[in-house]
C-alpha cells in the first residue's frame, strides 16, 4: 500500500508577519489556518483532521481545536521539531487514504523575535527528564555550535570550504530580493558571507538563518475534494521520515537522516533526484542544505560543495533551483522551525505561483525536505515529493 496519488495539497499559506508583537500565538495559528482555507476555497467546517506540533499553544491540537471551533475526527500531534509539518503532510495523506479524514489542516506559528529569544547562541534545556540533558547541557550545546561541528567535520573529511557553503547563502539572497516579505532582501556575495563575523567556527553570521516570527498552514485533501476546488492539482507522490541520533556513542556528524527519509520518499514516488525540477531544503545554516542535498542523493556524499557552487542553486541560473522564497536563510524561519514554509514554496512553484523572477519553467515535480532538532545531536528528517497533475 502506498500514499502515492491518495491525497492532494489544496491550500497553503505563509503568514506575512516577521515580527508579531501585537499578535498572540493562537492568533498566528488561526490566521494561518484561515489563510490556507481561503487559498483552497474551503471553509472552517470542512476541516475534519488537524495536525500540529510542539509550537502549538497549551494542549496543542485540543487548544487550537477549541480556539478555532473545529469539529474533528482525526488528530495528529507528532512532534519532530521543525521537520514535523513535512512529516504531517505524509501522515495526512495516510489518514486520508484510510478514510480517517478528508480535509486535513496543518498549522505552525511562533514569535521568538517578539519574545526576545536568543535562538541560536543560548543553550536550550529541554527538561531534566530528557536522558541526554545531564550529559550535554553542562557543555553549552547551542543550535549554532552543534551545526558548526557538523560543518567542521564535513570540511575535515571532504575538503568542503567556507566559500562553497557561502554559495548557498548567495543563492538564497538572489531569490529573496524578489520577496517583499523577506527579512533579508539584499543580494550578498561569497566574500560578504565569509567576511561576516565568525559566530561559531566555521560558521559565520551569514551562514545562519534569520530569526523571525510568523506562521503558516497547509490543507491536504482527498482526491475528490481537491478535484471539486478551483485550484491547480498538486498530488502527494511520496513521503519518508526517519530519526537520526548519536547511535549509542557512534555519532557520525557528516550525514543526516535525509539519507533514509529521502530514499523512502523516492521509492514511494517512483522517481529519482534527477527528476526534480525544484527543491525546498531546510536551511537553518548553509551546512544544513549541503548535507541534506548529498543525503537525498543529488550528488555523491562529499561532493555537496561542488554541487552548490557557482550559482547552481539559483533559479534561472543553475541546474538545481532551491528555496526560491529566500528560505530560512533570508526570508523567514517562523518559530525557529523551517519545515512548513518549505512545503508552501514547493506548492507555489508547482502551481506556477512563485514570483515570476524565480518561477521554474514547467515545474511539475518538486521535493520538500526538513530537519527538526539538531544535526549535531538528534533530529527528525522528513521528505515529501509533490507533483502537479
Amino acid at each position: 500500500m502506498s500514499i502515492n496519488g491518495k491525497a492532494y495539497v489544496a491550500g497553503v499559506y505563509e503568514h506575512p508577519t516577521r515580527r508579531a508583537v501585537d499578535k498572540s500565538l493562537a492568533q498566528l495559528h488561526a490566521e494561518s489556518a484561515l489563510g490556507a482555507l481561503a487559498d483552497a476555497g474551503l471553509g472552517k467546517d470542512d476541516i475534519d483532521g488537524y495536525f500540529c506540533a510542539g509550537d502549538a499553544p497549551g494542549l496543542g491540537a485540543l487548544s487550537m481545536a477549541d480556539y478555532l471551533g473545529l469539529r474533528l475526527r482525526h488528530i495528529d500531534t507528532t512532534e519532530c521539531g521543525g521537520s514535523s509539518y513535512i512529516l504531517h503532510v505524509g501522515h495526512a495523506a495516510e489518514a486520508i487514504a484510510l478514510g480517517k479524514c478528508s480535509v486535513a489542516l496543518i498549522t505552525l506559528a511562533g514569535r521568538p523575535r517578539a519574545e526576545g529569544m536568543a535562538t541560536g547562541t543560548a543553550p536550550r534545556n529541554y527538561g531534566s527528564t530528557s536522558p541526554d540533558v545531564a550529559f550535554e547541557f553542562p557543555f553549552g550545546p547551542t543550535v549554532v555550535n552543534m551545526y558548526a561541528m557538523c560543518a567542521n567535520r564535513h570540511m575535515y573529511e571532504y575538503g568542503t570550504t567556507s566559500e562553497q557553503l557561502a554559495w548557498i547563502k548567495v543563492a538564497a539572497s538572489h531569490h529573496a530580493q524578489h520577496n517583499p516579505d523577506a527579512v533579508l532582501k539584499n543580494v550578498v556575495t561569497v566574500e560578504e558571507v565569509v567576511n561576516s563575523p565568525m559566530i561559531s567556527d566555521p560558521l559565520h553570521r551569514l551562514d545562519c538563518c534569520v530569526i523571525s516570527d510568523g506562521g503558516g498552514a497547509i490543507i491536504v485533501t482527498s482526491p475528490e475534494v481537491a478535484r471539486s476546488l478551483d485550484r491547480p492539482l498538486v498530488r502527494v507522490r511520496g513521503a519518508g521520515e526517519a530519526p537520526k541520533h548519536q547511535m549509542g556513542g557512534t555519532i557520525d556528524l557528516t550525514y543526516s537522516g535525509a539519507r533514509w527519509s529521502g530514499a523512502t520518499a523516492f521509492e514511494e514516488a517512483g522517481v529519482k533526484p534527477a527528476d526534480m525540477k525544484y527543491v525546498s531544503i531546510y536551511d537553518s545554516f548553509t551546512i544544513t542544505v549541503l548535507m541534506q542535498l548529498e543525503d537525498l542523493g543529488f550528488c555523491e556524499k562529499g561532493q555537496g560543495g561542488r554541487l552548490v557552487s557557482d550559482g547552481n542553486l539559483i533559479s534561472g541560473v543553475g541546474a538545481l533551483p532551491f528555496n526560491t522564497d529566500g528560505g530560512g536563510l533570508c526570508n523567514n524561519h517562523p518559530a525557529n522551525r523551517g519545515g512548513l514554509t518549505k512545503v508552501v514554496e514547493a506548492v507555489r512553484q508547482l502551481r506556477g505561483e512563485a514570483h515570476p523572477a524565480v518561477q521554474v519553467a514547467n515545474c511539475d515535480l518538486a521535493l520538500a525536505h526538513g530537519t527538526g532538532g539538531s544535526l549535531g545531536t538528534r533530529h527528525g528528517a522528513a521528505t515529501v515529493i509533490l507533483e502537479r497533475e
Partner: protein, 132 residues
C-alpha cells in the same frame, strides 16, 4: 583567561552511579554484557543490541577530538567538542585549558573533571590537550 561556569548535572536513578564515580574522579562508560559493545551516554538499556544487561566500566580518559567549535559569541568564548575515547564511544564535552585558536580534529586530549556551579553538584568530564 576566564572559563565558563558549568551548570550542575542532575543525577537520576539511571545515572546516579555515573555521577558518583565522577565525584571520585573516574569517567565511566556504558558496557553491555550481552554484545560486548560500549556506549555513551550510559543508560539502562544497550542502544546497540537492546539488552538490559548493562554495566559501567571505567574509561582510560584519553582520546582524540572528533569535531569541535568555538562559540565566539559567548562570553567567555568556549570550545564544545565531540571526543572519541580510546575505549570506543564518542561523547560531547568541552575542551578546556587550551588555546582556542589551535584546536584541531584528531588532536589528542585527556580527561580533566571540571567543577560545576552547585556546591554539591558533581563535576563534569571535560578534556584538555594531551601532554606531549
Amino acid at each position: 583567561m576566564a572559563s565558563r561556569t558549568f551548570p550542575s548535572p542532575v543525577p537520576d536513578p539511571d545515572t546516579e552511579a555515573f555521577w558518583q564515580a565522577a565525584k571520585d574522579g573516574t569517567l565511566m562508560i556504558g558496557s553491555c554484557r550481552n554484545c560486548g559493545e560500549k556506549h555513551y551516554y550510559p543508560r539502562s538499556v544497550c542502544p546497540h543490541c537492546g539488552s538490559g544487561d548493562v554495566t559501567l566500566v571505567a574509561s582510560s580518559g584519553t582520546g582524540e577530538i572528533y569535531s569541535w567549535s568555538v562559540l565566539r559569541r559567548a562570553d567567555p568564548p568556549y570550545a564544545i567538542a565531540y571526543v572519541t575515547l580510546d575505549d570506543g564511544p564518542t561523547m560531547m564535552t568541552n575542551i578546556v585549558d587550551c588555546d582556542l585558536d589551535t584546536l584541531a580534529i584528531g588532536q589528542r586530549v585527556e580527561l580533566v573533571f571540571s567543577p560545576t556551579e552547585d556546591e554539591d553538584g558533581p563535576p563534569v568530564p571535560t578534556f584538555r590537550p594531551a601532554a606531549p
